[in-house]
Symmetry: C2
Subunit: 360 residues, 2 copies
């Protein structure tokens, strides 16, 4: 087994979910990640905790078989709910042998199933949890990398000194907390402002998401003004949308365009009221992530980028009394900030061409 | 996918566990059996039941990692217990990529873990359940067969008309129910008698065990007299014991011998009081099983054999008021009945050289 797999397991258990004696642990992983699941069992034993390996959200081949043969009247399974209720820690490992495994399942069926099992998701999210990635060949292929190159990419992003990361990123959190307005400028096509007053900024240093490496907050839903060109493609439900452009007025997207699969973008924006307003502004600060990989768990933390999500705002990023943008969707898109770009906080430049003011 | 896999899944769901709408189903299987698990998900969907794929008893590599890194003070995990309590149907699929995966785990640790998690086993056995086999290459290797040869062997044994089997075997059940004494004679070395009066005979036609194909009852623990030579090897905890001979007096094994690994046999017999007395007499009637495969799930159902188990008797095979042999062990061993042999029930021959009286 690659030595980095045991290090990965160590970070998950001893940093991300902070495993404690007696914890009831569920590990949800595809067999391609069996090495990591094995290493996790070693550490779970060290902590005198209790492991169970399952394939619920990761068993996409099984899910496909189930969904394609079901009449569509779904309900949440009571035995899985009972498992999750007694669970203290949930570890979900992304990675499979075919990332397009559910491509021939009717999207409406998938949505109906997701809706019917929402309470399972809510229960998982109410526990200590971590979502991480195993560098399987199929995921390397999605990222357009060699398998070995992708292994290096994944573990470089994950095997960080997360206390250092926390300290580094907290400087950005300090700049944003207490700010009223943020302006993001990049190239000729992106110049957007938004109010964030009294909305907390969160520091993501590899706990619920591994890799971590961003700070993020929520704009006031009606405050966004300007234009954004998203340099990086949006990969949504297996379809690639490129060169997305959004124009905001009074917080709302009043114009949108894309070079490829614009219809997918339109569909997202028209999901509901909140889907055409921003729910998140995030600043990617993990410079070990230096390539786009068609995987938002990594892409949104990429160094020298910002991302904006249309749709639902995270509860913890909305201050008391402030409006929270609500939606069934939360779709992140990424702007390159490495060149000819800046972030202004209340008219002061805090990042220019990828360099933060606290690095100068 | 081999067409026989969907037939196998169909037998499991529609015969063995008799799946009903809304059933909460747990499928415990190693990834080598992913085709069968997929086919099971299709049928579970057809029945509007709820599947969950886990690796609890089947995840031997994970279990090895856990057991080797644990301090040895085990307790039963509450979240797994909660899952099993809400479960209606448990399907365990044997089959792995290495049948000797736990060979370097201290047997005492394994025993301590089994003891601490006994309540999980009891809970599973209180539900509708099925134990079956996937014909994985490692299991073919254990059986000393080619992979394709083993696939044919496994599915020939499993894909039977189980109603026909039930009817055929019920003739033997009728002969044994109401009998007082059974005598088994084979070759020069086996001649043993035992009382079975008022102990029910069960008909195994592919429900809890798939394949099924035996009828079995319990001898009175103090009634067994004579000598038995077991033609087929005993494969116990990864070790092969050959040419086992047992001599019974007053129900107790008073002499024993084996050509290979006699110490393993001695260890079994000395486990506790009940380990040196019989807990089961079974008659193998599945003639599709025509080879020994080092897998008791198949071997004990082999046509033209009988098996006797030292140790624990099944509760359902002991009549009210009769003594039930109790032990921590239940170890089956097999006598070939195809040649120069007979079974007598109250001095009447019911099987001779493998042919039953009702077949003549």
């Amino acid at each position: 087994m690659d030595a980095r797999i045991r290090e990965h397991a160590d970070v998950i258990c001893n940093h991300s979910v902070d495993l404690a004696p007696g914890d009831n642990v569920v590990i949800d992983a595809h067999p391609v990640a069996a090495d990591l699941v094995t290493a996790l069992h070693e550490i779970v034993a060290d902590h005198d905790a209790h492991p169970l390996a399952i394939q619920e959200r990761t068993g996409k081949r099984f899910l496909r078989a189930y969904l394609r043969n079901h009449d569509g009247e779904f309900s949440a399974p009571e035995h899985v709910m009972a498992l999750y209720e007694e669970m203290d820690v949930y570890i979900a490992v992304r990675g499979s042998d075919n990332v397009t495994q559910t491509s021939d399942v009717d999207p409406e069926t998938q949505a109906a199933y997701a809706g019917a099992t929402q309470e399972l998701l809510d229960e998982r999210l109410s526990k200590r949890w971590c979502l991480t990635q195993y560098p399987a060949p199929a995921n390397a292929q999605l990222a357009q990398m060699s398998t070995e190159g992708y292994e290096n990419f994944v573990w470089d992003a994950i095997l960080r000194d997360w206390e250092d990361v926390r300290a580094f990123q907290s400087q950005m959190v300090e700049l944003l907390d207490g700010a009223s307005e943020i302006r993001v400028v990049s190239g000729e096509d992106t110049d957007v402002t938004m109010r964030v007053a009294d909305n907390p900024t969160l520091n993501d240093y590899g706990e619920k998401n591994l890799p971590g490496g961003e700070v993020f907050t929520a704009p006031h839903p009606d405050s966004v003004e300007g234009e954004v060109y998203f340099d990086k493609p949006l990969y949504h439900q297996g379809r690639e949308v490129t060169d997305v452009r959004l124009t905001f007025e009074g917080g709302e997207v009043v114009d949108h365009a894309a070079a490829k699969n614009e219809a997918v973008l339109t569909e997202v924006l028209e999901t509901d009221e909140g889907a055409s307003r921003l729910g998140e502004l995030g600043i990617g600060m993990n410079r070990a992530i230096d390539q786009f990989s068609y995987n938002m768990l990594f892409d949104e933390k990429m160094g020298d980028t910002v991302h904006m999500a249309v749709g639902r705002a995270y509860e913890d990023t909305v201050g008391d009394g402030n409006e929270r943008n609500d939606s069934a969707v939360h779709v992140d898109m990424i702007v390159d900030m490495s060149e000819n770009s800046r972030i202004e906080v209340d008219s002061e430049v805090v990042q220019e061409d990828g360099t933060f003011v606290f690095e100068e």
